[in-house]
Symmetry: C2
Subunit: 333 residues, 2 copies
């Protein structure tokens, strides 16, 4: 995809609560410098804690892209948003969205984009075509965040590792595979929206050959143990040809997300299967660390769990939020 | 998808050799009764060995659908085909194609379909939307043909098993997951063309709950060991929630199809991994037989290989072409 033009105006419309703006929250958290302001409509209950800005002010501030960082029921674009987004296009900004409904399907927006030569980017609807994966060995090093389940911290973990490696002066790039990640990276591929024949091929494109001392830190999706999405996860694992995997886990979760009758896999089993399947395209593929979401535990229980888990598996076990990921960065050469 | 209206006129255009008409060949082999004739243009080098028929004759014979059963470079629809296909629509027939280029993108065909209220079906371009898989246990029994590689006999094996079970008076339905299979079944889903989030969900839709003594015999795709397509294969395995797997293999193949540096997996390993991954959605998932493509072996070597393989794995090993699949049907209760 075309790289998004920064900086961003974060459009959160009339979000009925903070959770509805979680995509925007994530972008602000990881790329505060890119987010010059938020645009809210009357009745908006979310607040990104960055300056409120009108469309005109955003244009004056040099905003490149208005990011529709809102989730709502059905993924629709309400009529009440259209005039503001149209004005943004008229004032020279692009508009990007992760909603199901396409920006390009709204006649006013399609027309405004055309007359101004601006871009409407629907990150859930890739228009680019990819080759089928060739499975060839390529230079550079790659780390993939995998998980025992969906929505368990894979994006956060990958971004934290990118940040830590860069802070150490190492070459590292976060590679986004989901909508929030794409806004944060400024580019990427929503792999769950790719036609299934091309999952691995699109990921090979996303993290191509690179310098020998360069790390691509790839955002994972789903889980090999998720009955709905494992195909996406396996295609992503193969396409990434990862040298290193970080296994993400939430120890108190009762069942797989959205699947009440499916228990989470055993951590050791999940590590073994990910390594085994990953070795098809990279014989050295190995889980090198564990990223545990301990938000449901108190500090003492979290510390105990991390220590026990690190000892049991003989590798770093961190909580990217509570402890940071330095211990994982330490083992990436 | 809408079920295709039978019978068929097999359109093989100006195929430059017999292989270019292999989709049509497969349909004629498995559904001779549905194929009332073939339509060939001047210079066609393929012959399905069924009566040649003009578009007008096909209309008189009550043909429901013209099947474009040709492969060509780039999956295009040459201008020279358009007049004949347009006439078919004008005479009340539907047109179905498995080419990459969409019938619906050809203005003359789109207009003719519209004015006649007829259907243009591009089986590689599903328009139907599916739910995400729910992974729920469902009634009925399901068999999935899996493989050590692509293009190794999975469709043929599944169709042979359907035929054998029906000949024994058992309830069985072949479920198609690729273009040729869809023409043979009259319906189905090209899973490699499905958006990756919905692979398993589309397969749950394809083989829904059924009578306790009913077998769905599902066409497999790719291989868990194919670096390009394993994501499709895993989504299909999970969505099928198969009770029984039949492992398809070609013992003389030197490398994975399209991947010169990838050796075929060890058969025992491939069985183990398919069973292990399949058990996520059906804890009873088990490989119950082997379908070996022995076409590269002479009769004595084939017989020896089948016997040794059956003994080694303690299950029936057949060649669906040479020996039939009775020994596999024997173990399906």
């Amino acid at each position: 995809m075309t790289a998004l033009r920064t900086p961003y105006l974060m459009f959160i419309g009339d979000s009925h609560d903070q959770l509805a703006a979680k995509v925007a929250d994530g972008v602000v958290y990881w790329r505060r410098d890119w987010c010059v302001g938020q645009f809210r409509l009357p009745g908006c209950k979310a607040d990104l804690k960055i300056p409120d800005m009108s469309i005109e002010e955003a244009a004056k501030a040099g905003v490149g892209t208005v990011i529709v960082g809102v989730a709502n029921r059905g993924g629709k674009i309400p009529d009440s948003w259209v005039a503001s987004l149209e004005k943004a296009l008229d004032l020279g900004m692009d508009v990007a969205s992760g909603l199901h409904k396409r920006l390009a399907d709204i006649p006013e927006l399609a027309a405004a984009a055309k007359r101004n030569g601006r871009i409407l980017l629907d990150v859930r609807h890739p228009t680019q075509s990819f080759d089928v994966a060739d499975g060839k060995k390529r230079s550079g090093k790659r780390l993939l965040a995998v998980g025992t389940d969906c929505s368990i911290g894979k994006m956060f973990t990958a971004l934290a590792i990118e940040k830590e490696l860069r802070a150490r002066g190492k070459k590292a790039d976060f590679r986004a595979t989901g909508q929030t990640g794409i806004f944060i990276a400024g580019s990427g591929i929503a792999v769950d929206a790719i036609v299934s024949d091309f999952i691995s091929g699109s990921v090979e494109w996303l993290c191509p050959a690179n310098d020998d001392d360069h790390w691509d830190i790839i955002e994972g999706q789903g889980s090999l143990f998720h009955a709905s999405y494992a195909g996406v996860s396996l295609g992503l694992l193969h396409g990434s040809a990862a040298d290193a995997l970080v296994m993400c886990h939430e120890p108190t979760r009762k069942h797989m997300r959205g699947l009440p009758t499916y228990a989470l896999p055993d951590l050791a089993e999940c590590i073994r299967v990910n390594e085994e399947m990953g070795r098809l395209t990279n014989p050295n593929c190995k889980v090198i660390g564990l990223a545990i979401n301990t938000s449901a535990l108190d500090a003492a229980a979290a510390e105990r769990y991390l220590k026990e888990t690190a000892d049991k598996f003989g590798m770093p076990a961190v909580d990217p939020v509570r402890t940071g990921v330095a211990a994982i960065a330490d083992v990436l050469n």
